[in-house]
């Protein structure tokens, strides 16, 4: 009996230790518009959480708060054990090195080639000087997204899917522990969407990252999610696996899975 208790305790402790993002009662408003009303979420190490919700519900605001791009009005937001709001400039910098953010558009630097886009974080953030090491990491990163041939191209020469892949390669080149994806498949055809979704899973396994994926693309959610949370009116209203939520009696939740 004692043994079972100890084991249970260990599981709980281990679980708490492995929470990489903890959000409690998060609130965020823009003027009179209260976008996030009461957000609670825990992302565990190695887990992929998909946040589903209609457009304009504040899904992206949540991950922008996690990345420190905006600050919450109320509530607690811990990333890798530290409260984002209380971080000093250097702590925020260190935290950002450990998280990756894939923007909806890819956000590639359009005045630079793919090679320069990828070398930018290596030379500016990791301060790498060794050209061979930089080249090696660029090739490795591009190889993992299957785009080695595009190394000398400019973003304007790439298709939407290729841009997302390069954006992913640029983010992963810093070996982040947490990945935040802002609608990774928006604007892509179904085949490319599926490829990107499969790539997200493959890279998560390869680099052992934990991810929050914002999307309203159901095939993407099905492929990538360990757990899905459904957002409505500034709150998370349901959580579960894809199959669990597909059977939900709640009409709002069920509508996503039709």
């Amino acid at each position: 009996m004692n043994d079972t208790n100890t084991q249970e305790q260990e599981v709980v402790t281990q679980d708490t230790d492995h929470v990489v993002v903890r959000i409690q009662h998060l609130k965020k408003s823009f003027g009179d518009n209260e976008v996030l009303k009461d957000i609670n979420l825990e992302l565990h190490k190695g887990e992929n959480i998909v946040v589903l919700g209609r457009s304009g519900q504040g899904k992206s605001v949540t991950i922008q708060c996690i990345a420190g791009l905006m600050l919450q009005d109320e509530g607690s937001l811990e990333v890798l054990g530290k409260e984002v709001k209380e971080m000093t400039r250097s702590e925020l910098r260190e935290m950002r090195i450990r998280i990756g953010f894939l923007f909806q558009s890819g956000a590639l630097y359009d005045s630079m080639t793919v090679r320069e886009n990828l070398s930018f974080p290596l030379t500016r953030v990791l301060k790498l000087k060794d050209k061979q090491e930089i080249e090696k990491r660029i090739h490795e990163s591009l190889e993992s997204v299957g785009l080695e041939d595009a190394i000398d191209k400019y973003p304007s020469d790439l298709s939407g899917g290729m841009r997302k892949r390069v954006g992913l390669a640029r983010t992963l080149i810093l070996r982040p522990e947490i990945m935040l994806y802002d609608e990774p498949t928006t604007g892509l055809d179904p085949i490319t969407s599926r490829e990107i979704s499969e790539l997200i899973v493959a890279l998560q396994e390869k680099y052992d990252t934990s991810s929050i994926i914002i999307t309203h693309d159901m095939p993407c959610a099905r492929i990538t999610a360990d757990r899905i949370v459904v957002m409505n009116d500034g709150k998370y209203i349901a959580t579960g696996t894809y199959d669990e939520l597909a059977k939900s009696p709640d009409e709002l939740v069920h509508n996503f899975f039709k």
């Binding site: 990345a67 950002r96 953010f101 923007f103 930018f120 640029r170 810093l174």
Partner: protein, 257 residues
Amino acid sequence: MASAILSSFNKYMEIAGDQVLFTARFARNIFRGGFEWGEFLRQCFIVGYKSIGLVGITGFIVGFVLTLQTQPTLKAFGAQSFVPSMIAISIIREIGPVIIALICAGKIASSIGAELGSMKVTEQIDAMEVSSANPVQYLVVTRILACTVMVPLLTIMADGLALLGGYVGVNIQDHVSFSLFFRKSFAALEFSDVMPALIKTFFFGYAIGFVGCYKGYHSKRGTESVGLAANSAVVSASLWIILLDAIAVQITNMIVY
């Protein structure tokens, strides 16, 4: 009415405070390690080399037209020999720096405003920030310093071409040799004409770079804001140039005379 005035005053003070903070960020990042020399030189090329044609033609025509406009009046008083000195003093002390700065405000401030504005809209600046790279050091410091260095050089070049334009203008109606025209031009110039004019061009360059970067960096989301950033960069930079010129003239008069 009073509340409207108070609200616009508050908004103005908010913007002014924001600009002071942006200046502090710029200043702090100049002296931080890892200056972006490559990007700085690229910006010098864009700001300087790519403006040579526009600035050169403008300078030449300003000198040429100024000569054609003033020559008949001076001739009527039998003072045509003063044409080279009049052209040199007016171009170098006032017209050259101000016109070239205004031209640069139109070309450079708008292009910086639009470039940074579109980087903001397409989340490129956020991407730099979120990867822990320093967008102010890479984008803002390099552009402001490039403008501060290149606008004075462009002005010096344009002043030279304006004098050449003046020489061509004089020779349309009269005949004056090249060496005589330039000897008379430079003989009329004093240290107190050249130095204050040169010094104020550095401030004009700084204002152009700063306003372009500030407007672009703080543009809102949406494609419309890119146009707004470019447009307000030109308007604000032009206004700053006129204000700085008025201040510079007052300071010069106090020191020199």
